[in-house]
Amino acid sequence: MRTKYLVGFLVIMAAIAYLAWGGLGKSLVYYVLPSEYADNPQKYQGKRVRLGGLVKEGSVQFNPKTLQLKFIITDGVVEIPVEHEGTPPELFKDNQGVVVEGKFAGKVFHGDNLLIKHSESYKPPQQGAKLKPEEVRKLLEEAK
C-alpha cells in the first residue's frame, strides 16, 4: 500500500519537474548589456531578452503618427539599433538608462516593452563622457 502511494507520488513529482524545468528553460528571459550580447550573439538569437543600456545621444527618431520608435542602445562599447512600436515614456531621452524587452532579429533588436530606469537621485552622465559597461550596469541597477 505504501509503495503504491510512493510510486504515484514520484510519478507526479517527475511530471511536474519535467514540465517545470522544460518550461523554465523556454520562458527564461535573459537580461544582458550590449557587450554581453556581442560576446555570444548566437546564444540569444530568437529568444526573449531584456536588453539594458543607455540611449545613445542623438540617435532617437520617433514619429508620433506611425508610432515607430528607433534608437541606439549602448553600454559605451557596443551599440545595438533598437526598433520599438509605441509611444516612448515621458522620461525617454538621450543618455537615459533603459531596459527593452524583446527579441533580436539579425542585427536589430525588436522591442515590445520599454522601461525607463531612473531614480530620484539619478544623474545623467556628462555630455560626451564615455562609460564602461560595468558603470552602466551599476547605473541601471541602482535605479529602481
Binding site: 517545470a20 523554465l24 520562458s27 527564461l28 528571459v29 535573459y30 508620433p64 509611444t87 515621458e90
Partner: protein, 653 residues
C-alpha cells in the same frame, strides 16, 4: 504632547503588556491555573489599546503635517487630500509594519476572547504573544516610525504617486494584512494542539479562523488585481509579480488546508497534513513579507530594502523549525487510523490539496528561480508569465475536474446515484468542449468551458437534490423547503457558492487571457477610429488643476457606450506623469483606454492605447460571489439553526 511622544509611549505600553501577557500565559500553562489566563486575556486587550494608540498617534502626525516625525517627513506631503494622508500610514515600510502589529494585537485579543478551552488556550495565547512581540520589537527598535528629526523640513515628498491614484490603495493593504495576520491564529491553534497533544478538537475552531483569514486574503488579492487593472495602465490584472505571488502562496496553502480539514473533521484522517499545511500557510505570509521587504527581489511594489530582511528570514526559519519540530515529536501519535479510498470524497479532497500544494510550489519556484540562476552562474534572468501559464493551465483544469467531482462523491465510497450525476457531468464536459471547438475557441479555452459546465451540473445537483428529497418526504412546496434546507445547511451552501464564484472566475480568466485586443493609434482631435467593433472619437483635450496634482484629460467617446476620460496625472514630486486609464465595462467586453501621449505644443493630437478584454467584469462579479459565500460560512448561527443543523448533519452522516 507631540504625536511622536504619544506614539513611542503607546508602543512601550503595548510592548510591556505583551510581555506581561506572555508571562501570564506561560504561568497559566505551567501551573494549570485559569486565573493567569484571565490576566493574559486582559493584557491582550491592553496591548491592543497600546498599538491602537500608536496607530492614532501616527495618523495624528500625518493628518496634522507634523514633519518632525521621520515617517511623515519621508512619506507625506501637505497638499495631499485627507484620505491620501490617512492611507500614507501603510504606504511605506515602517507604517505598514505598525499596521501589521496593530492587527496582530487585535487578533490576539479576539482569539483570547473566543478561545475557551482550558487546555489549549494558554498555549494559543503564548504563541500569539510571541508573534506579537516580534512585530512590536521590530516597530520599537528596528524600524520605528516615530523617530524625531531635529530640524523638520517644511514639506515632504509625499508617497509613491501610484499609491495616490486610486482609493483602492486605502483598502487593499488593510485587507491583505487582515488575511496575512489572520493566518497566525490557526497557526497558534495548531501549535497548541501539538503541544497539548489534543489532535482532534482544534480543527473546528481553527477552520472558522482560517476561513475568516482566507476571505480577507481572497478579497485582498482581488482588490490588488482591480487596482492593477484600473490604475497601473498596462491593461492586465495579474502579472506574476513577486508581490502578487507572495499573496498567492499562502492563499493556495490555506485553501488546501480548508479542504483537508474537512476530512479530519469528518473522518479523523490527514492529521499530519493539517498540522503541516497550517504551519506552511503562516510561514508563507512571513516568507512573502521577507521577499517584498528585504529588497532581494525586484518588484513593482517592493519597499526600499531596510534592515528587516535578515530579521524576517530568521523569523521564518523559527516558525518552520518550531512547527516541524513539534510535528516530528508527535508524528507517531497522529498516524491516520483509517485508509483513504481513492474514489471517495476524502480521496478527491486529498488530490485537490496535492494539486493546490503543487501550484504553491510552482509559484515559489518561479519566484525564486532568478535568485537561483544568479547564484549559480551569475546570469541575470527573469521568469515570465509564460512559465506560470504553461503550468497553471493544466493544473487549473485538473483542479476543476476534482472540484466538480469531490463534493458529488459521498464519503468513503461511490454509489449508483452519484454515478448517474457523474455521467451527466461527463456529458456536459464533452458537449461544452465540443461546442467551444466548433465556435473556434482554442483547445484550452474549450476545455475550460467544458469543465465549467461540468462543474455547474455538479453544483446544481448538489444544491437541488437535498431540497427535492425533503420536499418528496414532507410534501411541502419547493420554495418553502428550499428556505428550510438552506437555513439548516447554510455553511454547506456557502461552500457551494464559493465554488460557483471560483468557476465564474476561471471562465473570466480563461477568456480574458486568451482573447485580448491591444492597439495604439495617434488621433487628431475629432478624428474617428474604428477599433474593437466600436468607433472611438477624441472630442477634447483639456488641462485640469488640482491642489496636489495637475492633469491632462482626454474626452473620448466610445460609440454606444459613452464618454471616457483617460488622463495623465502630474505629481509635484515625480518627473514622470502617471497615466490613469479609463475603463468602461460591458457585460461581455470592456474597453480600456490609456492616454499615452499628446501634442504638448498645440494640443492637436493624442496617442491612445485601446485594450479590449472579454469578461473582466465577470471576474469582479466572481469576487462578490466568493465573498458572499464566505460570509454565509462564517456568519454566526442562531442557536436554533445551530441545533437543527447539527441534527440534520447527524442524520445524514
Amino acid at each position: 504632547m507631540t504625536p511622536g511622544g504619544l506614539g513611542n509611549l503607546s508602543l512601550a505600553f503595548a510592548g510591556l503588556f505583551t510581555v506581561v501577557g506572555l508571562l501570564a500565559a506561560l504561568l497559566a500553562w505551567y501551573n494549570r491555573d485559569a486565573r493567569y489566563l484571565l490576566v493574559a486575556k486582559r493584557a491582550a486587550l491592553l496591548a491592543f489599546l497600546g498599538t491602537l494608540g500608536a496607530f492614532v498617534a501616527l495618523e495624528w502626525a500625518l493628518l496634522s503635517d507634523d514633519f518632525s516625525v521621520l515617517y511623515v517627513a519621508r512619506n507625506s506631503t501637505r497638499a495631499n487630500p485627507t484620505w491620501v494622508k490617512f492611507a500614507t500610514l501603510w504606504a511605506a515600510l515602517e507604517g505598514s509594519i505598525l499596521l501589521w502589529a496593530l492587527l496582530q494585537t487585535l487578533y490576539t485579543w479576539l482569539a483570547g476572547i473566543r478561545s475557551r478551552d482550558y487546555w489549549t488556550s494558554p498555549v494559543v495565547l503564548t504563541t500569539l504573544f510571541v508573534i506579537q512581540l516580534f512585530f512590536l520589537a521590530n516597530v520599537i527598535f528596528v524600524i520605528n516610525p516615530f523617530i524625531t528629526i531635529p530640524n523638520p523640513p517644511a514639506d515632504g515628498p509625499g508617497p509613491n504617486p501610484l499609491l495616490q491614484n486610486h482609493w483602492m490603495m486605502a483598502v487593499h493593504p488593510i485587507l491583505m494584512y487582515l488575511g496575512f495576520v489572520g493566518l497566525s491564529v490557526p497557526f497558534a491553534f495548531a501549535i497548541a494542539a501539538m503541544v497539548t497533544r489534543r489532535y482532534q478538537t482544534w480543527i473546528a475552531e481553527t477552520k472558522w479562523w482560517l476561513i475568516i483569514a482566507w476571505g480577507f486574503l481572497t478579497a485582498a488579492i482581488y482588490a490588488g488585481g482591480w487596482w492593477s487593472y484600473e490604475v497601473l495602465g498596462w491593461g492586465g490584472y495579474w502579472g506574476w509579480d513577486p508581490v502578487e505571488n507572495a499573496s498567492f502562496i499562502p492563499w493556495l496553502l490555506a485553501t488546501a488546508f480548508l479542504h483537508t480539514a474537512m476530512v479530519q473533521e469528518r473522518r479523523g484522517l490527514f492529521r499530519t497534513w493539517n498540522f503541516a499545511l497550517v504551519t506552511l500557510a503562516f510561514a508563507a505570509t512571513v516568507f512573502g513579507t521577507f521577499l517584498t521587504r528585504s529588497g532581494v527581489i525586484e518588484s513593482v511594489h517592493a519597499f526600499a530594502g531596510g534592515p528587516v530582511g535578515p530579521i524576517f528570514l530568521g523569523f521564518l526559519l523559527a516558525i518552520l523549525a518550531v512547527g516541524f519540530f513539534l510535528l516530528g515529536r508527535i508524528s507517531s501519535e497522529v498516524r491516520d487510523a483509517g485508509t483513504v479510498v481513492p474514489l471517495s470524497r476524502e480521496g478527491l479532497l486529498l488530490y485537490g490539496a496535492l494539486v493546490l500544494m503543487t501550484m504553491a510550489f510552482v509559484v515559489i519556484l518561479g519566484t525564486l528561480f532568478p535568485l537561483l540562476v544568479e547564484a549559480f552562474n551569475g546570469a541575470k534572468v527573469s521568469v515570465g508569465a509564460p512559465f506560470f501559464n504553461q503550468l497553471f493551465v493544466p493544473l487549473g483544469l485538473l483542479m476543476l475536474l476534482l472540484m466538480g467531482l469531490g463534493p458529488v462523491l459521498p464519503w468513503r465510497s461511490a454509489d449508483s446515484e452519484t454515478l448517474r450525476v457523474v455521467f451527466w457531468m461527463a456529458i456536459a464536459l464533452v458537449l461544452g468542449s465540443a461546442l467551444g471547438l466548433v465556435v473556434g475557441w482554442t483547445l484550452w479555452v474549450s476545455l475550460t468551458v467544458g469543465f465549467v459546465l461540468y462543474n455547474l451540473v455538479a453544483l446544481c445537483w448538489l444544491a437541488f437534490r437535498p431540497i427535492r428529497r425533503r420536499s418528496l418526504v414532507t410534501g411541502e412546496g419547493f420554495l418553502k423547503t428550499a428556505a428550510k434546507v438552506f437555513e439548516q445547511s447554510r455553511r454547506r451552501y456557502g461552500g457551494y457558492t464559493v465554488h460557483l464564484g471560483v468557476i465564474v472566475a476561471v471562465l473570466a480568466i480563461a477568456f480574458s487571457q486568451s482573447y485580448r485586443l491591444d492597439v495604439q493609434k495617434t488621433l487628431a482631435i475629432g478624428e474617428a477610429w474604428k477599433a474593437g467593433g466600436r468607433t472611438i472619437t477624441v472630442h477634447t483635450l483639456r488641462a485640469l488643476r488640482e491642489p496636489y496634482r495637475n492633469s491632462v484629460v482626454a474626452d473620448v467617446e466610445i460609440s454606444g457606450i459613452g464618454v471616457a476620460h483617460p488622463r495623465l496625472n502630474y505629481y509635484r514630486t515625480s518627473r514622470t506623469p502617471f497615466a490613469a486609464p479609463a475603463v468602461r465595462y460591458t457585460w461581455n467586453k470592456d474597453y480600456y483606454l490609456v492616454l499615452q501621449a499628446y501634442d504638448q505644443k498645440g494640443g492637436e493630437w493624442v496617442t491612445l492605447r485601446l485594450v479590449v478584454t472579454p469578461l473582466v467584469l465577470w471576474l469582479w462579479i466572481s469576487a462578490a460571489i466568493i465573498i458572499f459565500g464566505t460570509l454565509l460560512i462564517v456568519w454566526p448561527e442562531t442557536a436554533r439553526a445551530h441545533v437543527a443543523a447539527a441534527v440534520s448533519e447527524g442524520a445524514e452522516a
